[in-house]
């Protein structure tokens, strides 16, 4: 059972991203109000905003934390075509005593010609590396050669994905068994274009990233993508937010050590849920990749969990405003029957009334069993028919 409580965010516009640090004690939010806020969790579990500053001259799409071994470092990306790296410093002022911290911009990455849609740090075993993707379809990988000097970033790789990129995710596996790998999603709405999710892998010999896989079955716009923490499993799981929630399992085909070229994967679709019934916006894995959270156009947050037989099921639904939903179904099939029955009912109600006078009042109730209606993804609450 999950219980939600509201936090006063005080952002002036829509919040686009929430990100936790490694320990889960700090959090960063970014918003269309062009600012980033940093939150610290107090001992009693309350969140306090300890820093808020204007970061960009456009909507800030994403914010992300570096591993704490590189210091307290954030990266943000924005519609203003830039990405920026921020570091918390111990200033001369007495901010700390007042419960505030000071963040300064270490660098602005200005290589993109279009909106930078996502920014992610690479897994820490690769060093301090930052990846951006932009609406013009380019993924850029930057590296800070000296982790003590965050103002120096060199552009290491520039990978053209051909399609407008909306999101990227590194495979967090730190194992030496798997080469570094990331996935890029595209929100290109042209369905006829090729697969909207591409997976790139680092090739030790060429020292370049090469495309390892394109998920051709994903043809609709992809809004978010998340590699599951691998945790020593023999395969990778990739969650994709498109018009539904999709889970792909990538099983590396164990190859001879002599062969080169990208790893071949056996790609299996593990689950596909259209319970959000329309666009799915975000997906996020918990630390053991045993729980997946997704959010969609139905205004709900859904939690998914696999049982021992690897069947994924919905284990919780929460409305966007934090209020719980009663009941647990939420299948689209339930929706259609409800709709059918409500039409039936209102028709019956109408049949009993003559349509003679031009002015009359009658009561039409959207009669539906209350167990499932509120879960219907389109979220409508009223049907009346005449």
């Amino acid at each position: 059972m999950f219980v939600a409580r509201s936090i006063t965010a005080d952002h002036k516009d829509l919040i686009h991203d929430v990100s936790y640090d490694f320990h889960g004690r700090r959090m960063a939010t970014c918003s269309s109000d062009q600012s980033v806020k940093v939150w610290d969790k107090s001992e009693n579990g309350d969140w306090h905003c300890t820093a808020s500053w204007k970061t960009h001259s456009g909507s800030v799409w994403r914010v992300t934390w570096a591993h704490p071994e590189f210091g307290q470092v954030l990266a943000s990306c924005s519609f203003d075509r830039t990405a920026a790296v921020w570091e918390e410093i111990v200033g001369e002022s007495n901010d700390k005593q007042r419960g505030l911290s000071h963040w300064i911009k270490r660098t602005t990455l200005v290589d993109s010609r279009t909106s930078v849609t996502d920014v992610k740090f690479a897994p820490k075993h690769m060093g301090l590396m930052l990846t951006t993707c932009s609406a013009d379809g380019v993924v850029r990988i930057y590296e800070a050669p000296d982790v003590m000097n965050l103002s120096q970033w060199s552009l290491q790789h520039e990978i053209s994905c051909k399609l407008s990129c909306s999101c990227l995710s590194w495979n967090p596996s730190s194992s030496r068994v798997h080469p570094s790998m990331f996935a890029v999603g595209s929100d290109d709405i042209n369905v006829t274009c090729s697969g909207k999710v591409q997976i790139y892998e680092y090739n030790e010999n060429t020292r370049k990233y090469a495309k390892a896989e394109t998920l051709m079955t994903v043809t609709d716009a992809v809004h978010d993508i998340a590699f599951a923490p691998n945790l020593g499993r023999s395969f990778h799981i990739l969650a994709i937010a498109t018009k539904d929630v999709r889970l792909f399992k990538l099983v590396p085909i164990r190859k001879e050590s002599t062969s080169t070229g990208p790893t071949k994967f056996e790609v299996q679709i593990v689950a596909q849920f259209d319970n959000h019934n329309s666009q799915v916006w975000r997906v996020s894995w918990n630390i053991t990749s045993t729980l997946l959270a997704s959010s969609g156009d139905d205004g709900c947050v859904r939690l998914w969990k696999a049982n021992y037989m690897d069947n994924w099921k919905c284990t919780g639904i929460l409305k966007g405003d934090g209020s719980p939903l009663t009941g647990s179904s939420g299948q689209p099939t339930a929706m259609s029957t409800v709709l059918g029955s409500s039409i039936q009912t209102s028709q019956n109600a109408l049949n009993g009334i003559s349509a003679g006078s031009s002015l009359k009042a009658l009561y039409i109730s959207a009669h539906s069993p209350n167990h499932s209606h509120i879960h219907t993804p389109v979220g409508q609450d009223c049907h009346a028919r005449r």
């Binding site: 059972m1 999950f2 219980v3 939600a4 409580r5 509201s6 936090i7 006063t8 965010a9 952002h11 002036k12 516009d13 829509l14 919040i15 929430v18 936790y20 320990h23 889960g24 959090m27 969140w47 456009g58 909507s59 704490p68 210091g71 307290q72 519609f79 700390k96 005593q97 909106s115 730190s174 945790l231 020593g232 023999s234 916006w281 975000r282 894995w285 053991t288 045993t290 729980l291 959270a293 156009d297 205004g299 947050v301 969990k305 021992y308 405003d321 031009s358 002015l359 009042a361 009561y363 039409i364 959207a366 539906s368 979220g379 409508q380 609450d381 009223c382 049907h383 009346a384 005449r386």
Partner: protein, 869 residues
Amino acid sequence: MSGSKPDILWSPHHPDRYVICDSELGLYRIGPSSGAEETTATLLAINSDTPYMKCVAWYPKHEPECLLAVGQANGRVVLTSLGQTHSSACKELVGKEFVPKHARQCNTLAWNPVDSNLLAAGLDKHRADFSVLIWDVSSRMALDSGASANEKLRLSLAEADSGSVVTKPLYELGQNDACLSLCWLLRDSKLLLAGMHRNLAIFDLRNTSQKTFVNTKAIQGVSVDPHFHDRVASYYEGQLAIWDLRKFEKPVLTLTEQPKPLTKVAWCPTRTGLLATLTRDTNIIRLYDMQHTPTPIGDETEPTIIERSVQPCDGQIGSFAWHPSSQNRMVVVSATNRVMTDFTVFERISLAWSSTSSLMWACGRHLYDCAEDSGGGEGSAERDIATKMRQRAGSGYGHDTVQLWRNHLLAGGDDPQLKSLVFLPMMVTHMKLCAEDLELKIQGNKQSLVYSGIKNIVKTSATESRRSWSGSEWQTDVPRFHSDERCLALRLCGWISRGSDIDVETFLRSLEQEGEWERAAAVALFNLDIRRAIQILNTGASTAKGELNLNVVAMALSGYSDEKVCLWREMCSSLRLQLNNSYLCIMFAFLTSEPGAYDGVLFESSVAVRDRVAFACMFLNDVQLPRYIDKLTNEMKGAGNLEGVLLTGLTNDGVDLMESYVDRTGDVQTASFCMLKGSPVDVLKDPRVQCWIENYRNLLDAWRFWHKRAEFDIHRGKLDPSSKPLAQVFVSCNFCGKSISYSGAAVPHQGRGFSQYGVGGSPTKSKVTSCPGCRKPLPRCALCLMNMGTPVSHCPGTGRSEEKVDLTRENKLAQFNNWFTWCHNCRHGGHAGHMLSWFRDHTECPVSACTCRCMQLDTTGNLLPADSS
């Protein structure tokens, strides 16, 4: 209006009322339905007085509240009302008609939001006539008060024959043109924006001869953004244009993605820059979220558009209307049958999991923190493995290396998978001892045997012996197999205890104590002691509550006969499948099977692997047994069943099995602890095992269980010496540059950390105030100004010496107080105890003129471990 295309209008003042117009006008009230969260619409009134409706506009002022202007196909505009108590003002207005000179279709109507007596009507073209007429609805009332008696008379006469008909508009605009859409500009109530034929025009009522216009095709559905009065949207076919009135020459933005013509465009009244559009024959509403106000200057920057499409209902949408005050809410009406849907457009929610299993999401401008309710009534089995592992780590799971069986209890004692692991460490110890027994026979490979499972043990041949049933009169012997290895396997399965004793009685007693009657009976039966089995069942029936049918089973058992064809055998083999308890089931399977064909027992998957393996070791011959064990092993490997560790041992097979377990559960904790016990040569070097261990350590770090991680590392270092890290810090003398470590002089990389610098009052270490290499004194503590190595004197800062404190703890801390510590930033330092007490009250370094905020430099350093006592 041809009933096919309905439209919706929200009441400007009643948040719960709206009008749907198709062939008639219907007023609805929307409200929460009883009990549920859904809403229902109640039809309040229907008005079908005005035929040929083309367009409708709701009077914007409070009073009269339900006044509507209806534009008809013949160009007439009629004021009408919907079933309200008629106030005097309303009575005056209702029924009034405004008739243009030439009859043509009225396309659009717009009330002036400020001068609410002004109603603009847009008409089709008629030769050189005007197409935009602005009527003054209060014209007669004005006449009432100020007009001459003559005129009054004339009007009343006119009223008598044709109702209150007005034929003279206040303004006539747009000569020789057609008007398709109209809206009053919000920045100035004298300005009217009209979508004319092939141009958009702004008319100024103060100077009607002049107009500002721009040639464009996008002239339909002009509407002003209620939050940004210079922003206007219009459309043409599938093309949507956004205009900035300050820079009217061309649209700031054109969106041409719709394959079908647009039918409605509406700005959201509750949010800035949210535009909803609808095309023909579709069930989606497209939303354009304009994040920035478009700037006319420097038109390089296009406004950010986040495009979304929402699907409010299944059927095709006829029209929609934003709710005037509820956030992002709209009512949608279907193209046919007037099915209405109350629909809220939700903000896109972004979300993130924290490492401690709480979920944060942002919806709109609000944040929601969501955590798993630990006090919930559900069983802990339901919880996620992340939560379970965290709890287990917190309670010390896996760390108890002395009393290994306790680990299972620490894990919560509810996971059958982990229960089977209790036997694993026992097995390894067992194997070590047994290997000694076997040493004489198996030469050389003692080491590998220690970690291997039953699969590797039972490869040698066994001698067959026929044993008869004890305590019964049957003559049939059952073939049983013996060998030392099989004996060892039985021991590992727990059936017989260590030593020369091969009696199962001890095991039976322990099972009886735990109340596992069925299992005990089955074990007794497999040892061919049917009387003991019956006795166990009887005891079980008499002690356990409600288990009376154990007696029935005992009865059935006692009827056993060894004849090949008899009713008992026939009935038992068919009815046994209906027994709930699998142990009872396999008992009868055993009795009804031919010797050597025990599939009913061996493949009963709900029986513990231990018992099945033990059974196989007793009754399968040298050909069957390895085949069975191999098959079972593969089955366990495939399923990731930890019980299979008994078969595989901590060998590479075991790693395969564990991999399958980790694949399924993600429980790297158990995997790490199990594999640590394995052979350092093969298993610990396996990259998969290394990967699990790394991942588990990373988890502990993320949970801030740093103490647990350190303990794990210590534990690991004992079992796998190669995992020990090298010394991290070397301190060299300022003068000679040599390491100041005493013990480390010979082998510096194996220095024991800081402990050398402590003096602890030991006389042999009294010289540690100087460098062992050059005998120069060590640096001084910034606070007590003594050379390092001097024992710490009483810290004045603490002032707690009188307080009663835990003595052992105090002693430990006293040792730590002697340590030499320094700031990495300013390189000032001193005794750890002195430094700590200084920074309790200060933020800056104790050295004069040094402003370094040593204690605040590291944010992670300020984090407290989550597992400190």
